[in-house]
Amino acid sequence: MNLRFLATATALSLSALTNTASADTATIGISIAPSTLDPQLSLLTSDVGIYRHIYGSLVKVDSNNQVVLDLATSYKPLDNHTWEFKLREGVKFHDGSDFDAKDVVFTLERLGTVPGHDGLAAQYVAPITDIEVVDPYTILLKTEKVTPDVPKRLAQISIISNELSKDVASADFNSGVAAIGTGPFTYVEWKRGDQLVLDRNDGYWGDPSDFERVVLRTMTNPATRVAALEAGDIDMVDNIPPLDAQRLMEREDITVALGNSGRVHFIQFDTTSDVPPLTTAKDGSPLTTNPFADLRVRQALSMAISRDLIVERIMDGFAQAVSQGVPEGFSGYAPDIPMPVYDTDGAKALLTEAGYPEGFSVTLGCPNDRYVNDAALCQAIGQMWSRIGMDVTVDATPKSVYFKKLLAGDYPAHFLAWGNTSGDSISFLKSIAGTPDKENGRGSYNRSYTNPDLDNLIDKAASIVDEAERVALLREAMTDAINDQVFMPLHINNVIAATRKGLTYTPQVDENTNAMNLRKE
């Protein structure tokens, strides 16, 4: 009798005693902890991903972040200021009450009145100034400003039932009393920071889940998540580090699911300061000009980077190089923009032309706990820049410190990634390429690039309702932004999840985990 036999025997007898999980329960190890179940309290992308299990919305986004119908059966702009939404009939909330226009009105009215809300939900629907109920299944949404992305905004808004009292508190949602939606799952139990238990909603109007019960268990430590899957404790884990993914792919009893993320990684430069901070000549003497203001320098720095090498070595192959601010398939993606070319000689020539034949000294700001392999990526970029003669210091700091410094303009060049949760390029163009401007909501992460022509294009795109015209403008704006190297696109990651054999999972481009995408084979 060998040790292995003994162990198996013990395992069998122990699991016979205690095995409570049935085949119809799917336990998913997720990397995030939902902060609340009140869908109107927080609109953090990760929280919205959790809400989608319990609540429905008028329209929702599919796994590629494109708008599809949910509680609405059709929508169209009647004119520049009016949107008509037809609502789905026969849909019931988890408590058995009917869904109709009153619930939409109640939802939109409660938004922005929840104590302690982050303001984001209210921001999403702020352009909607009036709701007109035509009949129980038809509503008209009026906007004062021309707002082409009304459907996209509404995709973020979970519909709650008007049976709830007006002063329903967030704590009632967290305890489950008020966590009543039209979504594919019903609330069973939530232990904050531990697990959320959901049952299949058998009255769901759409395609039901394959599982009677789904347990979303928070496991923030990646090694723990992967070990729990390997041990067979759980059926699926999300957010797997590239290094583990390779190993898991070799296992017979585990299936690795790969998808693309919509999060684009890039580098921004300080182009507007007279002399950017932490930038000097190579001998340490101060510069008299801003090298980043010269397009040739920005082009040279982009040409010096081998994106293939980054994908292959730093990301273990679980990433793709990108040419612009949004990945392919998002509206506004400009197919004509070529992939950046890796050419060190060309880069050196451009630097010489710009008057820096020897290069110069610069600090690259970088977080070290925000994005996958962020510090390693910056180190690699620093080394590639030094090949064309630059002298690069990489300053990698925790995110809690990093963003404060970044927004204060403490870096001449910095690393950032943009989630593109809206499924199009408008939020990227507005926030990264647009000149800071409160009125038009531009430039929240851009302190140091201004181009009035580009701003005009962006503002125009933001106010055209016609989809084809809008896309054409978005493409033009993205092309202009890349031609002027407003930012330096690097790559997108793969979204990596893994399931036990016999299950399939379709990853979402917004990096959220949705139990509806988990299916039996």
């Binding site: 723990t224 729990a228 995110k399 809690s400 963003f403 989630g419 929240s444």
Partner: protein, 321 residues
């Protein structure tokens, strides 16, 4: 005794006050939580609105004094992340941590002390050498590494114990406990064992050296001359003699296990306070960090008080003044 308690209380209040200022300023100095709390596509207006709703738009000293006024009324503030009372959120997690820490301490005491006694009674013997080597490992190997090894061996390779989580719990007086169910015990055993190694090694060594020292003292020789067996001497006299440092160490480490079981908790996904505090620090959730530190201080003070009272019970010469 009353005076002693009163003085302790006063010290405690002062300590909490000083700590609250330090933590408040410290977390404020690290960075701006806004950038982490609000998704990046929020407009500047939204950022301002959220800042206002969390009260972060006021100067630091105003924020501190409003915190202090609320704290005096038992309100330690609303968590930035969870938008619920920080104390409530912490209290939800406290039972899991207390359970883990108590089980670990229990393991450390029932394994470490007897082992130390046996080793100390025969210095240089097999048990003694095993203890010395074992305790070096227990003291020097990092807990997270031991934890991951335990998971790999028992959960992944053998598959006999679960890798993470807390398992089934039973509500006792409204508190969820997992050591009362078989499933809960199976979840508890690996994290508790890996967390117990350090105090176990320390208690073992301390007991061993205490026993060796005491056995050569006069009272032990007289007891031997009276005809007591070695086992009788140890249980009747020596253990009592060495109990003071043991109680101290148990007290200190119990506090440490509760407040700083962070690493073990995150390796085993144990839903306790340690995991919470690390996430809160990363998110710059100041009310959570402040409330947590206050609670830790109170906890430490309470444990120290218990240790002092135990002293006076164990050793009649000690009077609480």
């Amino acid at each position: 005794m009353a005076l002693f308690l009163f003085r302790r209380l006063l010290q405690g209040v002062l300590m909490i006050l000083v700590a609250s200022v330090l933590i408040f300023v410290g977390v404020y100095a690290i960075g701006d939580p806004m950038a982490l709390l609000v998704p990046p596509d929020a407009t500047t207006e939204t950022m301002e609105a959220a800042r206002q709703s969390l009260g972060l738009d006021r100067p630091l000293y105003v924020q501190y004094f409003s915190f202090l006024t609320n704290a005096l009324q038992g309100d330690l503030g609303i968590s930035f992340v969870f938008r619920e009372s920080a104390l409530t959120v912490i209290m939800e997690r406290l039972p899991a941590t207390l359970e883990l820490a108590s089980t670990s301490m229990f393991l450390a005491i029932v394994i470490g002390i007897p082992f130390g006694v046996i080793a100390g009674m025969k210095p240089g013997g097999l048990a003694d050498r095993a203890l010395l080597i074992g305790s070096v490992l227990g003291l020097s190997l990092p807990t997270f590494w031991i934890g991951i090894l335990l998971i790999l061996f028992f959960a992944v390779n053998l598959g006999i114990l679960p890798a993470s989580g807390r398992g089934d719990t039973v509500e006792v007086f409204g508190v969820a406990l997992s050591f009362l169910t078989l499933d809960g015990l199976r979840h508890l055993i690996l994290p508790a064992f890996s967390l117990s190694l350090l105090p176990m090694a320390i208690l073992g060594r301390l007991t061993r050296s205490g026993v060796i020292e005491a056995m050569s003292l006069d009272f032990a020789r007289f007891a031997r001359a009276q005809g007591n067996t070695r086992a009788q001497i140890v249980t009747r006299y020596v253990l009592r003699y060495i109990s003071m440092p043991l109680v101290t160490v148990v007290g200190i480490y119990f506090g440490t296990l509760i407040a700083f079981a962070v690493v073990t908790e995150s390796v085993f996904s144990w839903p306790g306070m340690g995991k919470l505090i690390i996430e809160s620090i990363n998110q710059l959730d100041r009310p959570m960090v402040v409330a947590y530190m206050m609670l830790s201080i109170v906890l430490f003070m309470f444990i120290n008080l218990m240790v002092d009272i135990l002293y006076s019970l164990l050793d009649p010469r000690v009077r609480l003044k």
